[in-house]
């Protein structure tokens, strides 16, 4: 299911990130904005956002993947 912007992930996030925006950026592979605008580095991958998402979007999985991807891009 697509994201319906219900905001449940924002309520769930313990460090007050915006997982909805981060998820959209991660899906679009816009890694630079993900780090500078959406503070991906502050995400601790607790998975609360993935748990509450009614559309079953694998948010924390996407963030973990984006981090790996960013590391790969910066080392190469």
């Amino acid at each position: 299911m697509p994201c319906i912007r219900c905001g449940k992930c924002l309520d769930a996030c313990p460090v007050f990130l915006n997982p909805q925006l981060m998820g959209a950026l991660a899906k679009a592979e816009r890694y630079e904005e993900l780090e500078s605008e959406a503070n991906l580095k502050d995400c601790m991958l607790c998975g609360c956002c993935s748990f509450v998402c009614p559309s079953n979007i694998p948010l924390s999985q996407l963030f973990a993947m984006s981090r790996t991807q960013i590391r790969r891009l910066s080392t190469s």
Partner: protein, 335 residues
């Protein structure tokens, strides 16, 4: 054995978007029942026609297969039908549903991508295209089985209204020769003229509270709309600028339906609670301004559509503040 390897979490909450959509539909059942009780078979016909327009358009042009089952199309159809007058020609209701769905939702990319509430886009289109038909409220007939107005008007013929028309409370107030204030209790129970779902504030309130309790709508939005409508209209009433008492403002017209079902559409409302307060205050203010100074007696539809357009900016301005930051030093902390 087939094991899927992913990162945590491996359990999911039981809530799903499909369940949310269908519970909205169920919460509308009492409202629809009341409209059928008040307006007879015409109500059923108008609701069916607008829903058929939405479902058919979604089926024909929807991007995802099986998108009919998620319930979003039927919500749009029912909500559009509830904003129409009972004697509305069926082909217009069908066209409005199709237009709202196609140009309010599917053209943006389907569920979750639209900027404006599709039901209100459909209604705005109908208001612009058929201004006479959408503001004709036939007087209630004694016989429940009598159709209200000209439901079966043929396309592109002007509908014949041979029944007596009755004014809505808001129209009465604004355009009546001597302004009559409909008692608030009548507005609350729904024994007044008006569009299908506008009349009974009580049942909409019950449906809305049920959804808020289930967490399927953000209660900040209706609350902030009511607070701002009450405060702004109370201010103008106290200053003698407007003749609408604040309680009349709250319970008349599409206020209840708009606040609980239209403005709280998750896709077209802000994502943070702070944003929802801003959004609700804006809607309440605009409703009062349009009702007092606008050319139309009703302003809820345009108020919500205007604030829908501002939602991306509200979202940008009300990003949540990251844990441990003071807000101002966000850029430094990130680098």
């Amino acid at each position: 054995m087939n094991v899927k390897i992913t990162a945590s979490p491996h359990v999911r909450s039981a809530d799903s978007t499909v369940k949310i959509m269908w519970s909205v539909v169920w919460s509308l059942v009492p409202v629809m029942a009341a409209s059928i009780y008040f307006f007879g078979p015409s109500a059923i016909l108008v609701l069916l026609a607008s829903s058929a327009g939405c479902l058919l358009t979604e089926r024909l042009f929807g991007s995802r297969p099986g998108s009919l089952a998620d319930g979003s199309a039927i919500i749009t159809g029912l909500l559009l039908g509830l904003t129409l007058p009972p004697g509305f020609p069926l082909w217009m209701a069908f066209l409005g549903g199709g237009f709202g769905m196609a140009f309010g939702k599917i053209i943006y990319g389907g569920l979750g991508q639209n900027i404006f509430n599709p039901a209100l886009v459909g209604r705005a289109f109908l208001q612009a295209a058929f201004p006479v038909a959408i503001t004709t409220w036939p007087a209630k007939s004694q016989n429940w089985w009598t159709l209200q107005g000209d439901n079966f008007a043929l396309p592109f013929m002007s509908p014949v209204v041979d029944t007596a028309t009755s004014a809505t409370p808001l129209g009465n107030m604004k355009f009546g020769d001597d302004p009559v204030i409909t008692p608030v209790l009548d507005l609350f129970l729904g024994t007044t003229g008006g569009s299908l779902g506008e009349t009974s504030a009580l049942l909409i309130l019950i449906g809305g509270l049920y959804l808020a309790w289930r967490g399927h709508l953000n209660w900040h939005i209706p609350l902030s709309i009511f607070v701002s409508t009450f405060v702004v209209s109370g201010l103008f009433f106290a200053l003698g600028i407007s003749q609408f008492p604040p309680l009349f403002m709250l319970f008349s017209g599409g206020m209840m339906l708009g606040a609980f079902y239209m403005a709280t559409d998750m896709v077209t409302s802000p994502i943070t609670n702070r944003g929802c307060w801003l959004f609700g205050f804006g809607i309440g203010f605009l409703v009062v301004v349009i009702r007092i100074w606008g050319g139309l007696p009703e302003g809820v539809m345009y108020a919500i559509l205007l604030m829908n357009a501002l939602v991306p900016f509200i979202n940008r301005a009300t990003q949540p503040r990251l844990f441990g930051t003071s807000g101002k030093k966000k850029k430094e902390a990130g680098s």
